[in-house]
């Protein structure tokens, strides 16, 4: 009856099993710990109770206010993206999740060095917690988004529909893709000091190359395939489809998002597995 545990603690060289799957399997096996550590992150941040929750919303709301004001004063939004503040809301909120999760991932091993060096915890847990904590923030902000949609619906500015229910599914697929990228970023950040700066700069660039401030169909047709090469573009187009236009997400977009999530997970896990052994030594 001990056999199962025996094989799990025998360290063979070279490591066994397909490299792409192992980090994901380990993270899944440790899910109770991932959940507990994520709750710890949230608990430590929301120590102030309701006020803590408010502060976690303050940043996206403030950004929203700035974008909505600036863009309305400077440009006139197209007729189909009004009310523009509601159009911005879902995208900015979702982008907040992506960028903060990836920035956290770049620092997670440094922040958790003692745990890595002194306990037998699987390192996969930490990028998972970085993504999990930020995902929780996003989910906690969803009631505010839902309320905004309802108010707009009552005021007849939009006609909300059941298509909005696709939004959480899009977020789930996006979270998987982000976790894959987080695996790569976190393990590379152990070896290279500039990963965080690099990620921060790429995220700024990606923010404008992703349909967040504008709908994807406002991009000229001939550039759109290039835009789609940005792994986030289709996700945000789908965010707008579900949470603003309330129209079905095209099947091709679903397939593209699923493929993107799978590739991100696969590549991220492969990079992570390649660097895994040195994480506890270098962190």
């Amino acid at each position: 009856m001990q056999r199962a545990e025996v094989t799990s603690t025998v360290y063979r060289l070279p490591s066994s099993g397909p490299a792409v799957i192992t980090p994901l399997r380990r993270a899944w096996r440790q899910r109770a710990l991932v959940v507990a550590l994520t709750r710890r992150e949230l608990a430590a941040r929301y120590r102030g109770g309701a006020l803590g929750y408010f502060w976690s919303l303050a940043n996206p709301l403030l950004l929203l206010l700035v974008y909505a004001t600036v863009f309305r004063l400077v440009f006139t939004p197209r007729a189909d993206v009004r009310p523009y503040s509601l159009f911005l809301f879902s995208g900015v909120l979702t982008w907040g999740f992506v960028s903060s999760a990836l920035l956290d991932a770049a620092e997670t091993f440094r922040a958790n060095g003692p745990l890595l060096r002194k306990t037998t915890v699987a390192p996969e847990v930490f990028p998972a917690v970085a993504v999990g904590a930020r995902l929780s923030h996003l989910l906690l902000a969803l009631p505010v988004l839902a309320a905004a949609i309802l108010v707009a619906g009552v005021l007849r500015s939009v006609s909300a529909g059941p298509q909005a229910l696709a939004f959480p599914v899009v977020i789930l697929l996006l979270a998987l893709a982000v976790f894959g990228i987080a695996l790569a970023i976190s393990s590379l950040a152990v070896h290279f000091g500039d990963v965080r700066d690099l990620v921060a700069n790429l995220l700024t660039l990606a923010f404008f190359l992703t349909p967040i401030l504008y709908p994807i169909d406002s991009v000229p047709e001939r550039f759109r395939p290039w835009l789609r090469a940005n792994p986030f573009a289709t996700f945000f187009s789908a965010v707008h489809d579900s949470a603003f236009f309330f129209r079905p997400i095209p099947v091709a977009d679903w397939l593209w998002m699923t493929a993107t999530a799978a590739v991100c997970l696969g590549v991220g896990a492969a990079i992570f597995e390649r660097l895994r052994d040195s994480i506890a030594e270098e962190a």
Binding site: T9, A43, P114, L115, T119, F192, G193
Partner: protein, 436 residues
């Protein structure tokens, strides 16, 4: 299935294990992914410039239920060995296997978060140690009781004293019910009472058949608690055998190195030599070089002379030795006692006597004088010993009391355990045969 084959009784196998730590040069500490990518050498950037061996070709096995101590100076690879067994790092070469459920206590309370309550920390720490949520719930009350923290359970951990946090950390680990437990120098923290509770828990583990690997600088603990000890030095396994023997050999080496350093320093005995040498076994267990007294009289120049009358750092067991000190009275004294004591490094008094006990009645002592004590046959067991000297009044009021003012080594051809190595002869009658 096969019956109890030897392999099924093994809890730990370390098979020709070498661990190299990678060391990266300047290009790496500057560490830029950008430049690595621009130069198209991301792969090479990830390969180390050189490697530092932490363990070199180490092999041993531990049978289920054994308690094994691991001793050696700092940087000898002890912690690396535990990390390999815990699976935190992987061997560069060779094989490591641990059979059964593993518990690693490499640092008490690693993973405690200051902002959340003790209750929440217990859960997270339990999960870190590999317990399931249900197991944690089942053992929760017991963990809290052992740690004696009932009232503080819902307070954030930052309000705990360090002693409380340490108790909680140990309690969680002790209740994670491992088959193999790795412990790294954990008893060094916490108070006396806590240390006792830890030892009790270890004894309990031993009775329950838990395999225990214990890294410690407390050599007395290792030789008391462990049947077997490993001695690591510079990543190599220098000795593997009964704890008392391994510890004795390790002590001998430390003493020899110390003695060498002592002689290099020029006879020793003077002040200003506290805290040197990391490899010393029992450093810090006694007030080394501690000196108290009124100064009405002082003792200086304490030295040990060998049979030939030369100052020596070591004396062969059974030979003559002579302890000397120069004493000085600031003003003439009529009440005075001179004393010498020999102790082990850990502070056990092996011998002690003074002029009062021996029946000398003081009349007068003034100016400079010399006191010596001759021992015709020093039959101490091989090892390192310390000398305390004292000048005090007959009621015990110290003029000058100096602890651990000199260390010397007793050498012998063959090791023995204990403190006394008397002249001896073995006798055999009947059908006993020996080689040669």
């Amino acid at each position: 299935m096969s019956q109890t084959s030897p392999s099924s009784r093994r809890a730990v196998v370390v098979d020709h294990v070498t661990k190299l730590y990678r060391r990266y040069g300047r290009k790496h500490t500057v560490g830029s992914l950008k430049s690595a990518l621009l130069a198209g050498r991301a792969r090479q950037s990830l390969s180390p410039d050189s490697a530092v061996p932490a363990l070199v070709d180490v092999s041993f096995e531990v049978t289920r239920g054994e308690t094994v101590g691991i001793v050696g100076p700092n940087g000898s690879g002890k912690s690396t060995l535990l990390k390999l067994l815990a699976g935190i790092v992987r061997p560069t070469d060779g094989r490591v296997a641990v059979e059964g459920r593993l518990g690693a206590l490499l640092e008490l309370g690693a993973g405690f978060h200051p902002e959340i309550s003790g209750r929440e920390n217990i859960e997270i720490n339990g999960l870190l140690l590999g317990l399931t949520r249900r197991q944690i719930a089942e053992r929760f009350d017991e963990i809290v009781r052992f740690a004696e923290l009932e009232e503080f359970l819902d307070a954030p951990l930052k309000t705990y004293s360090s002693g409380m946090a340490v108790r909680l950390g140990f309690s969680i680990a002790a209740h994670s019910d491992p088959d193999v437990l790795l412990v790294d120098e954990v008893l060094a923290v916490g108070d006396e009472r806590f240390a006792h509770r830890c030892l009790e828990k270890f004894a309990e583990f031993e009775r329950a058949g838990v395999t225990l690997l214990l890294v410690s600088h407390d050599l007395a603990l290792v030789s008391d608690r462990c049947r077997r000890a490993l001695w690591l030095d510079h990543g190599r396994l220098l000795a593997d055998g009964p704890a008392a023997q391994t510890v004795a050999r390790y002590r001998e080496r430390v003493a020899r190195e110390e003695g060498k350093a002592r002689l290099d320093e020029g006879g020793g005995g003077e002040r200003g030599r506290g805290g040197r040498g990391e490899g010393r076994g029992d450093a810090g267990t006694r007030g080394r070089g501690e000196r108290i007294g009124s100064g009405a009289a002082t003792a200086e120049g304490v030295r040990l002379l060998d049979a030939g009358g030369r100052p020596a750092g070591s004396v062969p067991c059974g030979e003559a030795a002579r302890l000397e000190m120069e004493v000085h009275a600031a003003a003439p004294l009529s009440d005075f006692v001179f004393g010498f004591a020999i102790t082990t490094v850990s502070g056990t008094v092996v011998f002690g006597s003074n002029t009062d006990l021996e029946g000398f009645e003081p009349v007068q002592f003034k100016g400079r004088a010399q006191v010596s004590l001759e021992i015709p046959s020093l039959t101490l067991a091989p090892g390192v010993y310390c000398v305390d000297v004292a000048v005090h009044a007959r009621d015990g009021a110290p003029y000058d009391y100096r602890r651990d003012v000199l260390r010397f080594e007793v050498t012998a051809d063959r090791p023995s355990t204990g403190l006394w190595s008397p002249p001896r002869r073995w006798g055999f009658e009947g059908a006993i045969a020996w080689k040669k």
